[in-house]
Symmetry: C2
Subunit: 196 residues, 2 copies
Amino acid sequence: MIHTIAPRSGVAFELKRGELLKVIDPMGEQVADLVAFNRHDIGEAISSGRSIDYASRIYLSTGDPIYSNRSGIMLLIREDTVGRHDFLLSPCSAEMFRIIYGDAHPHRGCFGNLAAALAPHGVQPDAIPTAFNVFMNVPIDARTGAIRVEPPLSAAGDYITFEAQMDLLIGLTACSAGQSNNFSYKPIQYEVSAGA
Amino acid sequence: MIHTIAPRSGVAFELKRGELLKVIDPMGEQVADLVAFNRHDIGEAISSGRSIDYASRIYLSTGDPIYSNRSGIMLLIREDTVGRHDFLLSPCSAEMFRIIYGDAHPHRGCFGNLAAALAPHGVQPDAIPTAFNVFMNVPIDARTGAIRVEPPLSAAGDYITFEAQMDLLIGLTACSAGQSNNFSYKPIQYEVSAGA
């Protein structure tokens, strides 16, 4: 069963160890922010700092683990038809829209959407980590360290599949930041299935 | 008064709003992992993901703010004689030494040193964020995203000075990872002074 996340919104759901989570870009050039917590102890969450350190690479793709703040493997990337995702940037937020774009009445962004979706599961906003930003395209200038947010490389129907390595609570959005999705807010789809 | 942090150890201390924290590399090529928490509400901590997002740059230096997970400015970089620091990687840890180096009896690393130093202040290990890794030199291959940990660019006496923008609890180490300090474990020094 394929679920659709409406533009500029987010959801939370459980993903059991061994299950597969397929995140699909149905229209192309759309980003999905993904966070994950240990279902049985939400103090354990995905860690950009540890995942990048252990991979010795900032761009993760097929075969790469996503580690937790306790160095446990939470997710393994099993398939990836795009090969470009971001793991550096926090979810977009009202504060981000104010600081970067100068919005006077900003959207609550992926951060607000994740906070609302995760609150019933006991996750506090302060505990929302840097997300694995599926399909987000953030090239870097190696000399200066400058980053740019460019349109995703994903076309309609592209996807990435994760296998859960422990029982997880997942937060997932259809991203609310114009720059990350080429200024066209679109849905994201996902499917949970039993593993091999 | 200049304090010395012994090789492979760490400290925690308070830094009041407006005070200056000068972190000095007394011998050259040594890294210091820095974390900061709101002294009055330790749920607020430095955020690599927000700081990099708002700066649009992974390498921060003079003039750049270090933001919290609530988008508050915690520290401002006022002086920097080196200009190359890392804000991507988690503090080195026993798990990191096992996973990357295969150490059977690993050192507790900066993570263990920070956890021990911060515990009396109520900070749990799970809450230790990606550190601002002072003097750590992590070049990136822009095409593949591969990172390398190279010797710091700091020479003896080089320093960076931060100005606190709120009352803070600081954790600071003399880093325990061989790769980050050219395989020579050395001390780090720091000085706290009244601001201008």
